[in-house]
Symmetry: C2
Subunit: 334 residues, 2 copies
């Protein structure tokens, strides 16, 4: 029997090349090796967008198109929508007796996010509980593995602890203790040099971008700011244009040649960027084409996700019923 993997996204916008390199391509690999579930976390997406539901709603179909475009196979992976498997909310409630609010308040990721969102004085309960709601996502499908970055390891550890406490309290192993699945961490900076790529920063290259948009963005990439003329020697390390070359250009000779000439002041930005554009366009063109295909069938993709949700809902119902059973709260008719 294949092990179960759970991954997913909040539907808060289209996916970009950071997602592609950071997680999407990994999922395309994982779907052959594991029983993969991909969660579209719309209810968690609402926690900090509750007054902007349009954004979440529209992003769901964008996500589905992005998944299809990169090669997520809806037959191999179970793509599902959080709101359509509502057992997660029930399981969340059952888990909530096994974690303290003090522990949640010490979660470093949540702390940082609360500061970023100016939630210090008024933290919406929905936002506050999301780390535990995420644990419920994992336990809903009794996932064996959760692909995460090293920085998210404590989140998985908390989930394991909650599962363990539940099992111990009721004397039966109902919940799986999931393991983190660490991959190679790929951080893709924004075209402005910012370490993070994102919509609000207006520095992202989207999978949905047209060839024209791609070219325009590649030519906007911030390079070495100390290099005024093409004949000035430049720095390659930490230079976004070369980080992208390393990520997208399979022609190592070309990349090394460009780097050498850049360091010596023997190549202009235009040539470096034109070659990057060509390399990226080679990678992104088939994705873009599949994405256009996806746009035409997005109602069907949504239908597949609803079907997936129904499958997850059934799995979740079984888990929730097992939890109720050991809590002695399972009732059956006479």
């Amino acid at each position: 029997m294949k092990k179960r993997v759970l991954t997913g996204d909040r539907p808060t916008g289209k996916l970009h090349i950071g997602h592609l390199k950071g997680s999407l391509l990994n999922r395309v690999k994982l779907q052959d090796e594991y029983e993969q579930f991909i969660l579209i976390a719309n209810i968690q997406g609402l926690t900090d967008n509750y007054n902007n539901p349009d954004k979440i709603r529209n992003s769901i179909e964008e996500l589905l198109c992005d998944y299809y475009a990169v090669g997520i196979d809806f037959d191999k992976s179970t793509v599902y929508i959080q709101s359509e498997a509502p057992e997660v909310h029930e399981i969340f409630i059952y888990l909530s007796n096994f974690v303290s609010i003090q522990k949640i308040l010490h979660n470093p990721t949540l702390k940082t996010e609360i500061e970023q969102k100016n939630f210090e004085k008024s933290t919406p309960l929905g936002f506050f509980i999301y780390p535990i709601h995420q644990a419920a996502d994992i336990l809903l499908v009794n996932a064996d593995l959760v692909p995460v970055g090293r920085d998210q390891a404590p989140m998985i550890e908390d989930c394991r602890e909650i599962a363990r406490k539940f099992n111990q309290t009721y004397g039966k192993k109902i919940l799986n203790e999931p393991q983190p699945l660490f991959g190679v961490t790929v951080n893709v900076p924004g075209i402005d040099g910012n370490a993070k790529m994102g919509k609000s920063l207006n520095n992202a290259i989207y999978l949905a971008d047209s060839e024209k948009e791609l070219r325009e963005k590649v030519f906007r990439i911030k390079t070495d700011p100390n290099r005024i003329h093409a004949t000035d020697p430049g720095t390659v390390e930490g230079n976004v244009v070369f980080i992208y070359h390393d990520l997208f250009n399979p022609n190592l000779d070309e990349v090394n040649d460009l780097k050498e000439r850049y360091k010596k002041g023997k190549v202009g930005d235009v040539e470096v960027k034109q070659k990057l554009f060509e390399a990226m366009n080679n990678v992104l063109t088939p994705i873009r084409e599949r994405r256009q295909e996806a746009e035409k069938i997005k109602k069907q993709l949504l239908e597949r996700a609803i079907e997936g949700s129904r499958k997850v809902s059934k799995i979740g119902r079984e888990i929730a019923d097992q939890m109720k059973e050991v809590m002695q709260m399972k009732f059956s008719r006479i």
Copy 2:
């Protein structure tokens, strides 16, 4: 159309004469005037008893027998079990974006309970969120009225505020703003004189008590501690034996006569208590007899409660779906 009323109990033990006078008899009246829902809050009962599920499980059938005994009519009132209408958990999650953790932390009732339970340093999340989960109980059935004591008015106000915010955010009146229904507050002290009657205080007279237990407890009632001999003048005000006479003895002449003689030191405790026992036994005998009847059919009563839960589950599904609709998270198949 009749207005909807929601009342209920946590199944944490048998009901006593405090419940009888404080709420049960009121519910028997309400069921004729309103569409009454009576919630057995087993999941909330677990929040501070999660490691003692036996207690909650066993108390459910005790509650059902108590309800039947006092005259709750399972045809007129919809008795239901919280865990069997799991939509409440989903609605809780949808509401959780509309209240802050700071607001919950300032809830005076919760604050007191956290102190009483020594939860200051480690407050289980499930316990912390119960006031909002209670709001979800109310909104699950879109109750118009909730019978509460004056001290619980802020809880209803919080529920109204959450409902109002939800409706305002999504521009549609989905959730009813419930009103508190204040009755005459009846406080029944324990037989030891403690202002509260409760199992842990070992000072309660239960509806399930036998005649022998009733007599024994009545004769254990703490009277005026300054009155050593039957010939000493005694104090009537605040004297439990007379508080009970006022609550249970319909013979006002007898009560007044006993009070006058007590004040003058012209009656012994034995006579006062014997007359109280007779009065209370008159009230409690039919309840006790119906309770014995209930014990024999408690599987059927449980069945009725499961049926009731199914009805509530349907109502809750509709409300949850309407909430999803305005949050733009309702999906339907092609």
